[in-house]
């Protein structure tokens, strides 16, 4: 397909603006740039180009999207309408508080609800994405130890099953990373943890459910071990969709948590953003929060308050406000009971698929998974040569988005499946049937899978060439 720049024909015009009503101002020549080349297309060319691009994109609205750890649930359309209300979109961020009471109310209401869901005492909406939230959470921890003059605490403990963002965020916040192995049940190895915690421990970062989709049963003991050593415990909210309304990070002993509104609260992912990564914390950390928080004063007016020992700003204004509106609309519609049902059904759907395929694809048995589970194609690969990647690519031929591949790193040939609560039994049955069929085909006709996809937009791309000789613009 041609690029929009390749469809450009000099002189074609699309959008137009009001003619200039005053004298044309010209700049001194030394200020001026050389030639500018942007696409020049008519409106119909533009409309067809982007419609074609949209047909070459696959979203939750296109089909089943069981991408583990990403919570690809249905994105209600009311979210879009709410965020698109002119009373919200046409608001400049630098206004007097009295002019933006509606925006501040939205921020306040979302903050309160997210605090209730996570069991935290305070929360900021400023971080723009999950990784940004991780960074902020760790900066709070750094500021906390610093204020207490506990300068030895330079290490963040991260399980070997953690997402790569965790250690990267820890380094961004100035920490060193210590890895702790998983035990035979693929939970945190308590004995190993006891060995690594000490007076240099700043915090432990954890997801619960773990990246294997299992609830960490020893969570209370784990958080106590870290607290007793003087460290704090960080909750990576990537997997919150399993437990909303059932159990709260705050009650498990976590001190700080980041959420992903684009995952758990359906704000859509937008092809990779914008997201929003609010950070909640216990009272001991609230004075360090970034930017401003909204408070409700005695007169019933919303006011901005700057935390007394703030780590500073991480976004120019109030974060991705438009995304926050979508999450608020979602939570308002679901309410307390709907939120819990969402998690319960996410867990049911995951267990239902797991049950349907676990005789063919090895996974954790003997326990219920949470909202997602990890299968291994190790045996399949050894016996047929068909790898996790080949199963994934073959799913594309069956009209489904592949699961997350090769994560977590501790499982060989891993595929991580997260169906989410909004999928129907029919869809889940179809997914089970497809995965069973592919398993059979792997033994009968492995070459077919190894060269998949056959009916996609493109065949497998040459990623080696893309990286060796990068072509990064048209």
């Amino acid at each position: 397909m041609k690029l929009i720049t390749e469809k450009s024909i000099a002189g074609q015009r699309c959008a137009t603006i009001r003619p200039l009503e005053v004298k044309t101002e010209t700049l001194e020549k030394s200020f001026l740039r050389s030639e500018l080349k942007l696409p020049e297309v008519s409106e119909v060319t533009l409309a067809r180009h982007y419609t074609e691009l949209s047909r070459r994109a696959f979203g939750v609205d296109t089909g089943f999207y069981p991408l583990g750890s990403c919570t690809m649930k249905y994105n209600p359309k009311i979210n879009e309408e709410v965020a698109g209300l002119e009373g919200f979109t046409h608001v400049h961020p630098l206004c007097e508080e009295e002019d933006v009471q509606g925006c501040m109310q939205a921020m306040y209401e979302l903050t309160e609800r997210l605090k209730a869901i996570t069991g935290m005492d305070a929360l900021t909406l400023e971080p723009a994405a999950g990784a940004h939230g991780e960074y902020v959470g760790l900066m709070l921890i750094a500021a906390y130890h610093k204020k207490r003059k506990d300068s030895k605490r330079t290490k963040i403990i991260v399980p070997d099953s953690a997402h790569g963002t965790n250690p990267a965020s820890a380094v961004m916040a100035g920490f060193e990373v210590v890895n702790v192995p998983s035990d035979e049940n693929q939970g945190v190895d308590i004995e190993a943890l006891k060995k690594v915690v000490g007076d240099d421990t700043a915090a432990l970062m954890l997801t619960n459910p773990t990246t294997l989709g299992l609830f960490e049963k020893n969570i209370k003991e784990i958080t106590e071990i870290v607290h007793n050593a003087g460290g704090l415990v960080y909750y990576d909210g990537a997997n919150l969709n399993a437990i909303m309304g059932v159990v709260r990070p705050g009650d498990m002993g976590f001190d700080v948590v980041h959420l992903n509104l684009h995952k758990t609260f359906s704000t859509p992912h937008g092809g990779g953003g914008p997201g929003s990564g609010p950070v909640g914390c216990k009272a001991i950390l609230k004075d360090f929060l970034p930017g401003v928080v909204v408070e409700l004063d005695k007169k019933g007016e919303y006011v901005f308050a700057k935390p007394s020992h703030t780590i500073g700003k991480v976004m120019p204004f109030f974060g991705n406000f438009g995304v926050c509106l979508k999450a608020l609309a979602y939570i308002k519609t679901l309410g307390a009971e709907g939120i819990k049902e969402a998690s319960q059904n996410a867990v049911l759907n995951a267990n239902y698929i797991k049950k349907g395929i676990e005789d063919l694809y090895p996974t954790q048995t003997g326990r219920f998974c949470m909202h997602e589970f990890v299968i291994s194609c190790d045996k399949l690969k050894a016996e047929t040569g068909v790898a996790a990647m080949d199963i994934a690519k073959s799913m594309i031929d069956n009209g489904m988005h592949p699961p997350t591949m090769y994560f977590p790193l501790i499982v060989h040939e891993a595929l991580m499946i997260e169906p989410t609560e909004t999928e129907s039994k029919e869809t889940l049955d179809e997914a089970i049937a497809v995965l069973r069929k592919l398993h059979k085909e792997a033994y009968e006709n492995p070459e077919q899978l190894k060269s998949a996809p056959h009916h996609a937009q493109i065949f497998r791309p040459d990623e080696v060439m893309a990286a060796r000789k990068p072509v990064l613009k048209g």
Partner: protein, 118 residues
Amino acid sequence: MKLMYAKTHEWVAIDGNKAKIGISDHAQHELGDLVFINLPAEGDSIVAGESFCDVESVKAVSDLYAPVSGRIVAVNTELESAPELINSDAMGAWICEVELESEGDDLMDEAAYAEFIK
């Protein structure tokens, strides 16, 4: 000249007080198509057993560990734009040359290495 291998799959060709370093053919095969090498700088000192460089394939990055200690006197900058040379000729594609200070522990000769990777 003496050719030795480290357990971490780097080779070192020692010639007097100079030593050239690369990665073994076995290693390049395991790593797959290399797309980039993060070369060390001339003048840097490297320490046996410590990471001195990393190589990237499409979906992985791997540290390379120094088989010997010494100061880098030359770097094979050709690899900067053509890391694939390591895939096509691992033994020819030297990464850097050092002024040798000391050899690392547990270096193997060719036969021992061949046995090691069996």
